[in-house]
Amino acid sequence: MLPRLSHLQFLVIANLLADDLAGRDLRARLRGAGVRQSGPAFYQMMAGLEDRGFVAGWYEQQVVEGQILRERHYKVLASGRKAWLGTRDFYQRAIGLSSDVMARVRGGA
């Protein structure tokens, strides 16, 4: 079966598996992994994951230098975890297949 998550969604949920994260921190981690996305594009992708029931988002209010800011936080849900595991299994099977093919190619050469 094909994976239910795209590469980017897989990476997002992988980051959320260990702990809940603020959108800003999650974006910073993605940037570290080479993902360049604008703020609105990132939050729209997260809204899509929320709609599919993979993650849950909520606001937390913070005061930074006297200014009130509402920061969006995310946590992975059970269906998100399941989708992530399914996607990981898919990639592992694909890696196993490609390893067999590579071994045969090398053996033939």
Binding site: G23, R24, S38, G39, A41, Y43, E65, E71
Partner: protein, 150 residues
Amino acid sequence: MARSDRALRAFARLLPREFRERVFDPAFSDLRREEIEGGAARKTRQLRRTLLVLESLRLVVLFALWRHRRPTRLASVLILILGIAAVVVQRIRYEGPRRHNPVPERAAPAVPPRGTLPPGAAAEACCQLEQTRIANGVPASTPAGDGLRP
């Protein structure tokens, strides 16, 4: 910066509520936090805010047309209007040349005087005349009235 904040908040009020709460507000909040913590130059701030608005506009168009993996009501109405407009345009294009340049009716061949043609040629001329009449929508001739039949 307070004026720019007010302008952005006014812009946010124009956006659909769901989009504003889940996309624009967190992105704007992140931007403000970066500005507070980083203290970027005024021009950089303005540029970032302009980019936020432009990016939000780009995304909100898609959001208005496609949501929850299906077209929205607005998208359905737009598709319907475009379909009707395409049919109307095709109809106008089809009707235009016919109205301004109507197809001229073909003139019926002159009937030769009785007894001037040999029998074979007379029958051929009769057939040709009938075909022309049919093509022009003229009622069929009576056997005795066409002046060609023996």
